[in-house]
Subunit: 214 residues, 2 copies
Amino acid sequence: MSVHLRPEEIEARSFAMIEAEVGAHPWSAVEWPVVRRVIHTSADFEYARSMVFSSTAIAAGVAALARGRGIVTDTTMALAGIAKPRLARFGIQGSCFVADPEVAQKASSLGITRSILAMRKGAADPGNGIFVIGNAPTALFELIRLIREEHMRPDLIVGLPVGFVGAAESKAALVELEREFPDLPFITNRGRKGGSNVAAAVVNALLILAEENS
Amino acid sequence: MSVHLRPEEIEARSFAMIEAEVGAHPWSAVEWPVVRRVIHTSADFEYARSMVFSSTAIAAGVAALARGRGIVTDTTMALAGIAKPRLARFGIQGSCFVADPEVAQKASSLGITRSILAMRKGAADPGNGIFVIGNAPTALFELIRLIREEHMRPDLIVGLPVGFVGAAESKAALVELEREFPDLPFITNRGRKGGSNVAAAVVNALLILAEENS
């Protein structure tokens, strides 16, 4: 009975079930733990086909976490889903500015989303390098604009907004960006699915890789 | 371009797309806003078929929220996903005890999950009535035990744990419980899928129904 299993045992058993159901897959030895954790979090095997990693994503993301670079999320949910003991181990500061009073006030006066201004505020602090989007396509479009127009060079983008208006388009635009910026580190997926839980799962998987490397 | 739509416009457009894609469905006028918000949050149309509402769920849940009954979640993520201004409007206290030091210490000494003890702690406070599970099957199994063995009578259970070990089984056990307790208010789904984001979406949909009623 599952009630009597320890959390590590439940996770190991879950991973074995995922491996068995997925079977042969195209993911590398460092991409697979990320994809597997996303499936573990969502119970959705669509991610076994829809995830996208830029060529530099895992190495750059793991290195940035190991260096203690700050994480900025677009939702408090994504921030809540990232394992705090793992952040503490690397001295990583996690931030979400979407409920920040200054952000709310500026968004209202400029007539743009709080998600856009939350990214802008996060990007303005040079201690931040990892940008995690689990909800708002506008946040991901803003990161793309900051890279193109303001020479922002993030250590990693985890771009997994969800939804029916703009989510798939924002992720397709991120994937396209690799042609212009071949070294841009990003992890995303194709289609409408995504979410704060899935975005947090990607970060947690990278934190575990960083721990295994250290 | 979605960047220039206001959040209300994005939501309205998303809901229209969901309605068009779902087509005819079996949900009542008060169940459908809940199912629709779950699909909106997950971009997963499987929920249009897999959600389960007990006969008393919506009326009891909305009434409990309107009375300001406390909410207990099994994850900080689910708590983070519930709209704080809506909770404040009804004077609702939201709590998650999974990281509570007393819970962690007892879990370790008793050799059971923190999720079980977090539910037990939440249930011990008579101000709490709404129990929201987005992750841990053990938390949902514990609620079922409290109802059967300790005469707990929750105002509402939102039981949407996710995963490969125990999640589907815990939800099936909850559905079975309606035979013994025909008035038990619960909202759940069939299968492995679920999650803190989906559980929070259910609560948010009910809070909106409570606002519309008030």
